[in-house]
């Protein structure tokens, strides 16, 4: 078996790389694929917290690279999904603890064990980023509809294009999208962002308070029904697997009082 290694990156911090990694991982695993999530943010690890697996971490990625344990010992199985595992980052080390060659070898090994290997990249374009993309064949670039985030995404896409021998495909996820603000011309639209970046769109994730709740609970939203952002991530996972799923309708309509009542009881109707 040879799986796909996908790096999730953004350049700018705080746009939702780790949230996207956790949610896409959960969505892919729910659909039946075997998934390994790799946290490459050494020294600032968060993915284990989002997954609610913090208390199960014994060994980490640096222990594997430095041969203090076997890869299988460091992989933490998800609480609910047996086909989803997390390779946590080390918290007490920094980015220089591993190099690109070691990451390549690690991704090769994980590829032979899982259908999907999702690498959560740290912010920035320095060694941490270079290590994260080292073993990847595909990339997902995350951005928010803000000038600064789009600018950084553009820089990252440039760096990914420079690696076109290794990175065969890269697609964009537009995160924290607020249709009402777009309608009032207070936020860039999907088209505006695509106009600047000219990349393939993998998905649009609406701004959602549920993300904060799920982060604190340690249960990614894509594992829960009736959450808008969760549905968006499940659609992204389907597109990664090759299914044709239309981008969900985020236009703000002036809903009649009847449809308001319906959407109050069943929020998925509107998305």
């Amino acid at each position: 078996m040879s799986g796909r290694v996908i790096v999730i990156t953004s350049g700018k911090g705080g746009v939702g790389k780790t949230t996207a990694s956790a949610n896409i991982g959960v969505a892919l695993a729910t659909s039946g694929a075997s998934v390994a999530l790799v946290d490459m943010d050494i020294g600032l690890r968060n993915l284990d917290i989002l997954m609610g697996l913090e208390n199960r971490v014994v060994y980490n990625l640096v222990d594997v690279v430095e041969e203090r344990c076997k890869l299988r010992q460091a992989l933490v199985k998800d609480k609910k999904l047996p086909n989803l595992s997390l390779l946590p980052a080390a918290q007490t080390r920094d980015k220089s603890a591993v190099d690109a060659d070691q990451m390549k070898a690690l991704c090769e090994e994980l590829k032979s064990m899982y259908d999907f290997v999702l690498v959560d990249s740290p912010a920035g374009i320095e060694q941490g980023f270079q290590n994260a993309v080292a073993g990847a064949e595909e990339a997902i670039v995350i951005t928010t509809p803000e000038m600064s985030a789009v600018r950084d995404a553009d820089r990252i896409i440039g760096l990914l294009e420079a690696r076109k021998d290794e990175i065969k495909e890269y697609r964009l996820v537009l995160n924290r999208y607020r249709p009402t603000m777009v309608q009032n011309n207070d936020m860039m639209s999907v088209d505006d962002v695509l106009e600047i970046l000219s990349v393939k769109l993998l998905g649009v994730v609406p701004e959602d308070e549920e993300i904060i709740v799920s982060t604190n609970k340690g249960e990614p939203v894509s594992g829960t029904d009736n959450v808008r952002s969760g549905l968006a991530y499940r659609n992204i996972a389907k597109r990664i697997r090759g299914e044709e799923v239309p981008i969900m309708d985020l236009e703000v309509k002036n809903p009649s009082w009847m449809s308001r009542i319906v959407s109050f009881f069943n929020p998925t109707v509107r998305v």
């Binding site: 020294g43 971490v57 014994v58 222990d63 430095e66 041969e67 203090r68 344990c69 918290q91 007490t92």
Partner: protein, 284 residues
């Protein structure tokens, strides 16, 4: 501060990695100070030496082995990336290999050079412990602990400094850390460890003896490294992510909400019937 790595697991032995040292001189210094500082701990255990890239000839290899033998340690195996070094140890009839021993959890012991100079090491440490004991002895209400200490230190009250030093040597060393440890920070120590402050999530504290936190323990604590199952972990507020004592691991329950604000009150964790148990400490 210089760093050498010591990796140990009770049934597999102890791996002392000198690979981080830049020269033979430095490696020899570290080896002798490490082994002498707690020679009871090393005695009788299966020791594997890691020499990293350091190049040694036969005489130098013999010198390394002599230091170990001086404190009753007989290294079973040598790991080195350098072929010349491997040959040198083979000639001294010690098994040499180019492969790092696997499956050993790593323990970083940071040994401040200024704290343990070659000759005055014992005295320096004894003085440190004396100051801790004196604090306890002054508390006259703590009759029990005073009695216990007096038993171990027959002349500690009016004995000469030297007598005190030799008597105290039998007690484990105590490292006293007066600061809050934040995410990513680690403290490891070969004796008992006292933290005055909090240990936040993401921080790790490790000790061969007991761990006492005068504050909230919310990170990872590992007491009894090396296999001491009698070791205890106690804190004013015990809400750790994980507790490890000797080779037992206990993790916190999966919680839906973060409830750090409400304290637990003083609690102690120890091994009971092979598992880590936590008991409330009641004082009334």
């Amino acid at each position: 501060m210089s760093k050498i790595a010591i990796i140990s697991q009770p049934d597999q032995g102890v791996f002392i990695d000198l690979g981080g040292c830049s020269s033979l001189q430095e490696a020899l210094e570290h080896l002798s100070s490490t082994l002498q500082s707690s020679n009871k701990f090393w005695k009788g255990s299966r020791v594997i030496l890691g020499m990293g890239n350091i190049a040694l000839n036969q005489a130098q290899a013999a010198q390394v082995l002599a230091i170990a033998k001086g404190v009753g340690v007989f290294p079973e195996e040598i790991y080195s990336k350098n072929e010349k070094t491997r040959d040198a140890f083979s000639e001294n009839s010690v098994k040499a290999s180019a492969v790092k021993p696997m499956n050993l959890p790593k323990v970083n012991l940071e040994i401040p050079k200024d704290q343990i100079p070659e000759a005055e090491a014992e005295e320096g440490r004894a003085a440190e412990v004396t100051s801790v004991s004196v604090v306890e002895l002054e508390h006259e209400t703590m009759e029990e602990s005073t009695a216990e200490l007096e038993e171990k230190l027959p002349e500690s009250k009016d004995g000469t400094k030297e007598d005190t030093a030799t008597a105290i040597q039998k007690l484990p060393q105590v490292l006293y850390v007066k600061q809050t440890l934040r995410s990513g920070q680690t403290v490891s120590h070969k004796g008992d460890l006292v933290i005055v402050g909090d240990v936040n999530p993401g921080a790790e504290i490790m000790a061969e003896g007991d761990i006492t936190v005068w504050g909230s323990l919310r990170g990872i604590a590992h007491a009894g490294i090396g296999g001491n199952t009698e070791a205890e972990i106690r804190a004013l507020n015990l809400q750790p992510i994980q507790i490890r004592i000797a080779h037992a691991i206990a993790r916190s329950p999966d919680r839906k909400r973060i409830t750090y604000a409400n304290g637990t009150g003083p609690e102690t964790a120890r091994i009971f019937e092979g598992k880590i148990r936590i008991t409330k400490n009641k004082f009334d």
